[in-house]
């Protein structure tokens, strides 16, 4: 098996300006934040990010000017409200928005993953998502005489970014018993390149103990990067909780340009060591303890 373990720097080189980037993320759940910070630090431009329901990562990318387009079912910070920088980017026209229903987003990714030109859904019928001239959606007849469906055009990704519990050096990625996070199944298969950050690197023998918890085979992964707390400040079940303090700190400043810049310089445009120092070991330990099983 081929070696896939590499440095953060080398992995980030797999993401290029103008790329279509698949981002695993929920409002507060398990986004590959160390990669997101890396893209911002490296000044990546003009990214088209595809996310099911990302929040903080999208807001940071928008704030840093990396984002030109976003395909999503939702961009939200849940109880922290709207993603203000993303929202301003869309309202000002700097970021173009392709909004899809969840089944449509999965259909677009699934079609790309399986080499199909489209997959259908019965979602969105009756909604205005079909009335905004989206060239990637087409209502077509059922050849068997049933109801029409919405064909959702394949959306191939240049690169997919994920975070998970563990991997071996060969790119086999394992998780713990828990829900598999949104799009972790389909995104890597829809992408030409796949980067996974993990909490720990283990031997393949460790994965062989629970081979049904290996969720990505090494042959589908291009780069594995060791990134303990790599999802912080989002949560990583069952390892650590999301960092409510940092979310609140961001929300408090994200409507103000100067405060946003300062936050980005303190917490985002810093290398992993600098980031962990800025957060502090006590806070990380507290987030781990929060998740009592």
């Amino acid at each position: 098996m081929k070696e896939k373990l590499t440095s953060l720097e080398d992995a980030l080189r797999l993401v290029r300006d103008d790329d279509v980037v698949g981002l695993q993320a929920g409002p507060t759940q398990c986004a590959p934040m160390e990669l997101v910070r890396g893209l911002i630090r490296d000044g990546r431009q003009n990214l088209h990010v595809v996310t099911l329901s990302g929040g903080l990562a999208l807001d940071w990318l928008a704030a840093a000017g990396c984002l030109s387009r976003c395909t999503f079912a939702a961009v939200t910070m849940e109880h922290y409200g709207l993603a203000q920088c993303f929202r301003q980017g869309v309202e000002s026209g700097r970021i173009s928005a392709e909004e899809l229903s969840e089944t449509a987003l999965f259909a677009r990714l699934g079609a790309a993953a399986r080499g199909l030109p489209f997959l259908p859904t019965r979602g969105m019928i009756g909604t205005d998502l079909l009335q905004v001239g989206n060239p990637n959606l087409a209502v077509i007849a059922d050849p068997f005489g049933g109801m029409p469906v919405v064909a959702c055009r394949a959306l191939p990704l240049d690169v997919a970014l994920l975070h998970a519990a563990r991997a071996d050096r060969f790119g086999n990625v394992g998780i713990d018993a828990g829900p598999r996070y949104p799009t972790i199944g389909v995104m890597p298969r829809a992408a030409a390149r796949v980067i996974v950050t993990v909490e720990e690197i283990v031997s393949t023998d460790v994965l062989r103990e629970n081979p049904d918890r290996t969720i990505l085979p090494g042959f589908a992964v291009d780069a594995v990067v060791l990134a303990p707390h790599g999802a912080h400040p989002t949560s990583m079940f069952p390892a650590y909780d999301y960092d409510a303090d940092l979310f609140e700190q961001w929300v408090a400043c994200s409507s103000d340009a100067a405060a946003t810049r300062e936050f980005l310089n303190s917490y985002v445009r810093v290398d992993p060591a600098g980031y962990r120092a800025a957060i502090g070991p006590d806070r990380l330990a507290r987030l781990e303890r929060a998740m009592t099983r």
Partner: protein, 279 residues
Amino acid sequence: MSNPSSGDADSSPAADYTVDELMTATLARCLSDGDQITNGISSFMAVCAIELARRTHAPDLVWIAGGSGLDPLDPRMTDSTFEWPIWQHSSMYFELSAQFWDYVANPRFLSTFFVGAAQIDAHGNTNLSVIGDFHHPRARLPGTAGLADMSALDKRLIYWVPDHSRRTLVERVDFRSGAGYLDGDGERERLGIGGGPELVVTNLAVFDFTPISQRLRLRSVHHGIDLETVLAATGFEPVVDGPVGITPPPSVREVTLLRTVVDPQGLRSRGVRQPREKA
């Protein structure tokens, strides 16, 4: 878990209750033993209603907590309704969203959804996307998430509105993120979509829908609220085609369970505007 848990078994109407307790109990009563239900983000009231129903009249209710954890034991309410405290002790984990939709899209399963939205209109269409033009919005909202799907997939939709106002209840939504009855008069059915909105529970009143025109119809106002207040706070003219009753109050048991077991922190009241009592 499926056994009704401890709590005051008094089914008599509570004399002392808040509007969020009334709303939650009203939502809970929409669920029956045979339902399977899930919840999305920012859905405290829905989660409390589900848990209340599980602990009262619907012990066999199936709940996929946060779209991922089946039948969790003693879920813990926290600031999020989509995080691990509500699904940490589950009997099955779904792949978040992906596998979950495989079940939702199936007409046999998950026939009922609780829906919150930024705008609801006179025909029960909902908006979570934009205020203003889609391509040049005055306000970019979070986005449809699962609403554009579940509203088009033959499901029974129950709306909750914590802030009944002319801003949230409008004649026509700026953007249809979710399909209600569209322009009414059977347009939804003609597109081949079954189900539809059934009830709208606000902090002032309860609405259902007229059968033909498929517009919101006032069914009851909450205790202490008068009809004029409701009409003045509504951005369209709801149908009033008979005597408007008082919304049945929660029982003593329901209120006690909510306060002591289901949601002692009171997260269900987040965003709920407490109506002023009439003089």
